[in-house]
């Protein structure tokens, strides 16, 4: 019949796409910039004061380099950054910190989550209120008092000091409480009829039906502790227990800024690369979990 009318949205669609690309590039700029910096020879950036645009270094810089047009690229900064800090130790510490935290969190939150979801007992509301207190007053702001506690317990400068405050997780308890409430009560009754005890009930009914919640909780717990800085910084002193974030901070403050920014950027990328890769692999899961983290 008539030709399809030009919808008013068509012009907007073009503007929308342009805006999307513009914002994406703007947001990506720091990452691109740091990657470029990390593969450029140190001298060229200092001499020109012009990192992006000028590649007019006359002679080839010392060390192994690759020339592309007038620009020289090198892996020296990564080699240098790798040597100034014990990265494998920091990596191992970060991994130990997040796994050690999560491994204890899972049973403690499962137990409390079930009790608050499905059991009637005296003082339930009061105890739940106590648990909520941890969400309302994040333990991160009570650093001074908690530091004194760690000293008293005699665990200063150990992995245990990093993990202890996180072994009880109000967020995890609330998330699992909500999830467990969605499990049909008939399944529990049927299992009880078959003579299942509490552990069996958890193993065969509640936990298998709540796997997505556990994955969300694990992703959020791991990524937040992996990125944590203040608490590890305060309760540790030796490099042999300090995680990546604290190592990176030390590198930043001990680097002679004018002379070695290229190496600094290489060090930063060594630290953040694994997380970016993991995110790329599990993008959808991450986004879903993060969206859950607030509204639950």
């Amino acid at each position: 019949m008539t030709r399809r009318l030009r919808r008013p949205g068509d012009g907007w669609r073009l503007i929308g796409t342009a805006l999307t690309v513009a914002f994406a590039l703007l947001w990506l700029l720091p990452l691109v910039f740091s990657i470029l910096m990390s593969v450029r020879p140190t001298r060229s950036s200092i001499i020109n004061g012009n990192i992006f645009f000028a590649c007019d270094l006359e002679e080839e810089p010392p060390g192994p380099t690759v020339g592309v047009g007038p620009c020289w690229f090198t892996g020296d900064n990564y080699a240098g950054a790798w040597e100034v800090a014990p990265w494998p130790t920091h990596y191992a510490n970060s991994i130990l910190f997040v796994t050690g935290t999560l491994i204890v969190q899972i049973p403690t939150t499962t137990m409390a989550g079930y009790a608050f979801a499905r059991m009637q007992f005296r003082g339930r509301s009061l105890l739940l209120g106590l648990v909520l207190l941890q969400i309302m007053i994040p333990s991160g702001i009570l650093i001074i008092q908690n530091f004194a506690m760690i000293r008293q317990l005699g665990v200063f400068d150990t992995q245990l000091a990093l993990m202890l405050p996180y072994w009880g997780s109000a967020f995890g308890v609330l998330l699992l409480r909500q999830t467990f409430r969605g499990v049909p009560l008939e399944l529990e009754e049927a299992a009880r009829m078959d003579g299942a005890n509490w552990l069996q009930l958890m193993r065969h009914v509640y936990v298998p039906l709540s796997i997505p919640a556990y994955i969300s909780f694990a992703l959020i717990s791991i990524s937040s502790h992996w990125n944590e800085f203040l608490w590890p910084f305060i309760v540790t002193r030796s490099e042999s227990v300090r995680p990546l974030t604290v190592g990176l901070n030390k590198l930043f403050h001990t680097t002679d800024l004018g002379a070695n920014y290229n190496q600094m950027m290489a060090g930063t990328l060594i630290v953040i690369a694994p997380l970016v890769v993991v995110f790329l692999l599990f993008q959808r899961r991450f986004l879903e979990s993060f969206a859950q983290s607030g509204l639950k």
Partner: protein, 310 residues
């Protein structure tokens, strides 16, 4: 597994365990929360009402003196504290004023059928996942005086350079910019979820009624996302008041405490022996601010959810 026959063990063990079970289940969580939230909170409250004039003298009860000192501009600690409280408010407000509308815009842009959606989403969301220390390190470099990217660009247009992190007037806006870059992707995620919850036919009906895109936005999208916006405002404030990492990398609160903020200041004073009362008072005030915001969040949203379910 040992099976106890009911005849041999007449009912005594079981009800006891059954009654104790819920308490046993919540005990581990409660022990850790008591140790690292309840006890330190009470301690901060107690410390904030005590003070000692010299390092070797015992603590004495001083009532609200420590709190009064914090807000007394003639007291040496009050001069800093009021400024730092002001910085924190400007930082939090400045971040939210830009990042919330931007997050909504980005969510609307990414809530369409476009090519390479995952790529664009990654570009905006990746800062959320980076450790703030890493992100701030990159930005400290972008802001660097002689060789930073921003000044390089300014120079190539023959505009004067700006000492971003060294000038008392530009340091706070610089730190705010980094925070916007870091948090907008996180806020966007919630707007995206909110937008996807709005049924499409509402817009079709509005279009039939002749409502243009702007009318649709003002009269439909914005009101329907009111709850999301309120929620993001509240968590945005709680994030702002716990800012530490970027300050550690971007000037440590300098120059002249013009970029310092509440939690970072507490952290800086952690080894002070004489002002423990003042620092505890700061902790209590910060805890109260967070308590007000997070509990309002809880009563506005968590409560409503359970009512819907029940």
């Amino acid at each position: 597994m040992t099976v106890v026959s009911p005849a041999a063990e007449p009912r005594r063990g079981k009800p006891w365990l059954q009654r104790a079970l819920p308490y046993l289940l919540v005990a581990p969580t409660l022990i850790f929360i008591t140790m690292f939230t309840l006890r330190p909170a009470v301690q901060a409250l107690w410390d904030s009402a005590h003070s000692r004039p010299r390092a070797n003298q015992p603590f004495a009860y001083v009532g609200s003196q420590n709190y009064e000192d914090l807000f007394n501009e003639r007291h040496f600690i009050g001069r800093q504290y009021v400024k730092i409280l002001h910085n924190t408010l400007v930082f939090t407000g400045g971040t939210l004023v830009v990042s919330l509308p931007l997050a909504l815009l980005l969510a609307m842009l990414l809530n369409r059928k476009i090519r390479a959606l995952g790529l664009w989403r990654f570009c905006v969301f990746y800062p959320v996942l980076l450790p703030m220390i890493g992100g701030a390190t990159i930005w400290a470099f972008l802001f660097s005086d002689s060789i930073g990217l921003l000044n390089t660009i300014l120079r190539s247009f023959n505009l004067g350079t700006v000492p971003w992190l060294l000038d008392p007037d530009t340091v706070l806006p610089s730190v705010i910019a980094v925070n916007i870059w870091k948090q907008t992707g996180y806020f966007m995620l919630f707007y995206l979820a909110g937008l996807q919850g709005i049924p499409r036919d509402i817009y079709e009906a509005a279009e039939l009624d002749g409502a243009g895109l702007f009318r649709q936005f003002w009269n439909l999208t914005l009101p329907l996302l009111r709850r999301t916006t309120l929620f993001l405002l509240i968590i945005g404030v709680t994030f702002g008041f716990q800012t530490v990492e970027q300050l550690e990398v971007m000037g440590r609160g300098n120059p002249a405490n013009r970029s310092n903020m509440l939690l970072y200041y507490i952290f800086q004073l952690r080894n002070e022996k004489l002002n423990t009362g003042h620092v505890a008072a700061m902790t209590v005030i910060l805890a109260l601010i967070l308590l007000i915001f997070t509990s309002s969040n809880f009563f506005l949203f968590e409560r409503g959810r359970h009512d819907e379910k029940a």
